[in-house]
C-alpha cells in the first residue's frame, strides 16, 4: 500500500479543496476562538439580547453564551481561507494532505480537554 499517494493526492475539484481547508481551518479557528474568547457575538438567553463581540454576563440577567459566536467566527474565517485555497493552482492544491481532515480533530482533542480543566475537579 502506497500511503504517500493517499495522504498527498488532491481532492478532485475546487470544491474538494474548499471543503478540506474549510474543515481543517474551522476546527482550528473554533478552538482558537474558544480559548481566546473571540466570539463574533454574545447571546444572553435570559433576556434574548445579542451583543457584538465578547460581552460579559450582566448582573441579574442570567448567563452569557459565546458558543454561537465562536461558530460564526470560525465559519467566517474558514470560509475565507477555504475560498482562497480553492483559487490556488492545481499543483499547490495537490500538496494539501488529505489526512489533515482527521488528524487535526484528533490533535485538537487534548487541547480541548485542557481548555475545560475548570471542570475536571476531583472532589
Amino acid at each position: 500500500m502506497n500511503t504517500s499517494n493517499q495522504t498527498a493526492t488532491p481532492p478532485s475539484s475546487r470544491f474538494g479543496t474548499f471543503a478540506l481547508v474549510f474543515g481543517i481551518c474551522f476546527a482550528i479557528l473554533y478552538v482558537v476562538c474558544d480559548m481566546a474568547a473571540l466570539p463574533m457575538f454574545t447571546y444572553h438567553p435570559g433576556t434574548d439580547r445579542i451583543d457584538p463581540g465578547f460581552a460579559r454576563a450582566r448582573p441579574d440577567e442570567g448567563p452569557a453564551m459565546y458558543w454561537y459566536g465562536w461558530i460564526a467566527s470560525a465559519a467566517l474565517g474558514a470560509s475565507i481561507l477555504g475560498g482562497l485555497a480553492a483559487l490556488l493552482p492545481e499543483n499547490i492544491r495537490s500538496k494539501i494532505p488529505l489526512a489533515l481532515a482527521w488528524i487535526v480533530p484528533v490533535v485538537l482533542l487534548p487541547v480541548l480537554i485542557y481548555s475545560l480543566k475548570f471542570y475536571w475537579r476531583w472532589e
Binding site: G16, F18, A19, G62, P63, W70, L98, L116
Partner: protein, 167 residues
C-alpha cells in the same frame, strides 16, 4: 413560536424537542456506525456470515448524504435546546457540583461543532468514493466522526439522566 404554547405547555414543547433531538441522534448514530464498520472492517469476499458480516456490509456512499443531513438537523435542534439548557439545566447541575458532567457536555458541544465543519469534506470524499487515492482519508474521517457521534450520544444521555425532563 408563541402560538404553540396555546396548545401545549412550555415544558411539553421543550421535552418534545429534546426527544426529537435524541431520535435524530439515534438515527445518525446507527448510520455512522454502519458506515464506519463497513469502511473500517469490510467483510471478506465470499463471506456470507451472520449478523456482524451483514452489519458491516452496507454501501458506505449511500449513507453519506443521510449522515450529513442528520448531523445538521441534530445539531440545529441541539443548538436550539442549548439556550434553554444553559439556564434551566446547567445552572442546577452546577449548584449540585457535578462539574465533570458539565465538562463532558462542554466537550460534546466542541466536538460536534468540529464535526459539523468536517461534513463538507466527508461528503465530498464519499461522493467520490471510487477514487482509491482517498480511501485512507475517507476511512479515518468516517471513524473520527463516528467516535464523535458516540461520545456525544452517550454524554447527552448522561446529562439527561442527571437533570431529566419536566424542567
Amino acid at each position: 413560536m408563541d402560538f404553540v404554547f396555546d396548545y401545549i405547555s412550555v415544558n411539553t414543547f421543550w421535552t418534545i424537542l429534546s426527544i426529537v433531538h435524541a431520535l435524530l441522534a439515534v438515527a445518525l448514530l446507527g448510520a455512522l456506525t454502519h458506515q464506519a464498520a463497513a469502511v473500517f472492517a469490510p467483510p471478506r469476499a465470499g463471506n456470507t456470515g451472520g449478523f456482524v458480516t451483514h452489519f458491516r456490509s452496507v454501501s458506505g456512499p449511500r449513507y453519506a448524504t443521510a449522515v450529513c443531513v442528520l448531523w445538521v438537523l441534530t445539531f440545529i435542534l441541539g443548538g436550539w435546546i442549548y439556550a434553554k439548557y444553559r439556564i434551566y439545566v446547567r445552572i442546577p447541575i452546577e449548584q449540585e457540583g457535578f462539574f465533570k458532567t458539565l465538562g463532558a457536555f462542554e466537550l460534546k458541544e466542541h466536538l460536534t461543532t468540529i464535526g459539523l465543519g468536517l461534513l463538507p469534506f466527508y461528503w465530498h470524499l464519499w461522493k467520490n468514493a471510487r477514487n482509491a487515492a482517498t480511501d485512507r482519508a475517507r476511512k479515518w474521517l468516517t471513524v473520527v466522526l463516528a467516535a464523535i457521534c458516540w461520545y456525544a450520544f452517550l454524554t447527552g444521555h448522561v446529562v439527561n439522566n442527571t437533570r431529566g425532563f419536566g424542567l
